[in-house]
Amino acid sequence: MCLAVARALLGPGVYNRLLAANLFGTKTVLLLAVVAVLSDRPEFLDLALAYALINFIGVLAVLEFVQSRALRRRLEDGHRLEDSKPESGPAPTTDRPE
């Protein structure tokens, strides 16, 4: 865990921190599970469950944030495709109304 936090602090940049935070989330789940069993109250696994379920929403939000930012920049730059765009990247033109 210390290592993860060290990476989170060292960076460099946002994404390394994010990776570290994500890893830290997993470790928190493990920690909660171990502590719940150690302190002999296994019903507190609920907490670990909550984390396991919810933790990745934050990362998805980051993806959404970055994606919309990249998209906005492209729109502002008049569709100059200077960003390296992955296959799975956003393609606003194919957005069909439903």
Binding site: L19, T26, L30
Partner: protein
């Protein structure tokens, strides 16, 4: 009695190897040269590490509903963590983080 000993041994082996994986993941996270390789190291913790540790805990427990909860935790971890890693890699790529070249240290 013998069975008990066997279960204990197995659980300790699982717990220790799980901790080893978690530690290695952390080490890799710290030592690897760039984001994508670090991600690879981190996924070690996410999958093998957590799987082993939780299995080790499971062996120590009685047959209660908590056991089912642990199974659920394992299942969700194994499903959500790779997704999170995917989203992260995608976000980083979209934001222009280049693989395999040491990224210029953007000091916060």
């Amino acid at each position: 009695m013998n069975v008990q000993l066997l279960i204990d041994t197995a659980s300790w082996i699982l717990l220790l190897s799980g901790s080893a994986f978690v530690f290695l993941g952390g080490l890799g996270l710290l030592r690897m040269p760039d984001l994508y390789t670090r991600m690879h190291a981190a996924s070690l913790t996410d999958t093998l590490g957590s799987l082993f540790i939780l299995l080790g805990i499971m062996l120590q427990m009685d047959w209660t509903s908590s056991l089912a909860k642990l199974v659920a935790v394992i299942g969700f971890l194994l499903v959500t963590n790779p997704t999170a890693t995917y989203a992260l890699a995608n976000a980083a790529l979209l934001a222009g983080e280049k693989p395999r070249t040491a990224p210029a240290p953007e000091k916060p």
